[in-house]
Amino acid sequence: MFKKILIANRGEIAVRIIRACREMGIATVVVYSDVDRAALHVRKSDEAYPIGPAPAAESYLRMDKILDVAKRSGAEAIHPGYGFLSENAKFAQACADAGVKFIGPSPHSMNLMGSKTSARREMEKAGVPFVPGTSRGLASAEEGEQVAERIGYPVMLKAAAGGGGKGMRLVHTRQELRSALESAQSEAQRSFGDSEVYIEKAIVNPRHIEMQVLADEHGNTVWLGERECSIQRRHQKVLEEAPSPIVDPDMRRRMGEVAVRVAQAASYTNAGTIEFLVDEQKNFYFLEMNTRLQVEHPVTELTTGLDLVHLQLRIAAGEKLPFAQSDVQIRGHAIECRIYAEDPDNNYFPSPGKITVLLQPAGPGIRRDSGMYEGWNVPMDYDPLLAKLIGYGTDRQQAIMRLDRALYEYFVAGIKTNISLFRRILRDDDFRAGKLDTGYLDRLLAKAAPAGASAARDSQSTKLERIAAIASGMFAVLEPSAPGSKNGSAGEAGPVPSNWKQKGRAEALR
């Protein structure tokens, strides 16, 4: 096993990996940008080195600086976490060239999976189900029209080198196809320097379900069960769970076997995830492979009892998988909420800044993987993910109840977070019934907030309103100047904008 590794990441995932290393007696080296000196991963590691200014391109994405730190500190391996350099084949190659083990798959496997069409050709040979369409770029609009006729509208045009929705077009009729293809091609050329566009049947209201795999470097590959990741917004996952409410043991086994074939076709090693689109008839189609540890890996850890980061380290150190497929058991149910620094009152726009109050949940069935602490200044330069709150229970119902309870305990002030959104999701009838697809969250947010129409509820909220009034007065007399608030107490003169607001209100009272 390694004696020392470097973690080329920040935030909750860097802390997660540091914890695994400490458990295994491995020393940790982290890197940090100028704005991350006080970040939690720097506080918790054994060694930490600065690698440049705040923008990721000048720090966390600088392969040369990271490899230089690895060399100077004597780290034997690099864990890339997720995001940043985690799916960069050039970085994996640079690590190999520098004699440092990259904790992940080989550059060859990453390259293969990086291009959607080359991955598709490999996978088709292995009998992996695809959404009907072409596996190569379209040569002409005529070819596109012929294929669309064969597979049926609506169809989706996709850039081969694409991601994040760029170069994608949904086409409903033959008349729209030609111009949609031209604009998708030019957008793909602009965004990725490659105008190759292919065509697929569009799956209406799909679910997004993914399968975790692990492969050692001795030819053993296993699947560890699926995660339901349909609750997304702006191509960003928000809540994930394992198992999926619609996957039964037979479907799980079939998806798992396909996932293992995908991994084997790519000579894949270490932890990876095969993403599937699932249609309303529960047909599943290969979407892509993520060649890294996923943000949502804890729900799989809780339902399998395995520690994926421990296993990643053991695999990278050359060990064989310590169990066989038949040993893998799925037990209970786990749900993860991604706590983002986002303002629910401002269309979930990011909300960086100083955390003035942090009250964190604990108790049975709760796991919290967090990169934040009270007093920390959340920088504006990176992804808004602050922490992950995971609820675990004997069944889905209990996991929901525990998570709802833990969210009740969770409180963050100073910055805005999306905590309130999760309580809304967990209490929503469609969510409770497991009726999910990738459009679910946009539909929920478009609905008006649950109204307190009933008389019982009105009297309850009147009561709480009175409590709020008493509390605000008690705060004013007991704690007249609140440290951490730049405007002092609410009882004193506020800043100009609230002055006119207060005056407006005051006039309304008279």
């Binding site: 109050v357 309580r423 440290p483």
Partner: protein, 177 residues
Amino acid sequence: MVYEIVVSGEAGGGAGGETSGKPHRLELEKAAEGWECRLDGQVVHIDAVLPRRDVLSLLVDGHAYEIKREQTATDLHMWVGSTRFAVELRDPRSLRSRQKAGSDEKGPKKILAPMPGRVVRLLVAENSEVEAGQGIVVVEAMKMQNEIKSPKKGVVKKIMATPGAAVNPGDVLAIVE
């Protein structure tokens, strides 16, 4: 102490609010033990403890409430359990003095940065006319861009924001009159 308090209820934190607009009158008098409390003229028996900053444990007739205080550059919120209330709290005596010095609602309005970020670009020039809700400045944070909008119809008197500059919450970006 006497306070006038306007509490706006919300169906659930961040899920949109409704303002009852009904002001409460709260009288708090230090007693031998604890506080004597009258809300809208009615005596309420309370026991209050601050276990830590911004957290209040309140007992009312045996019912226990944990209330969290959240203050931003512009707002004050009370979280009773997980229900959020926007609160305007005034000491009527100091209100009068502030009223004299207070700014006029018809006068210039400062547009403030709601969060830390970087100014990406300006959407209007100084002295241009803007509608209420029209974007004035684009501020970027965490890879997302946000249009900061004018709160009223008027003329952009001054723009303090410069593209590329970092801003902190509460910084004045522009003034609309």
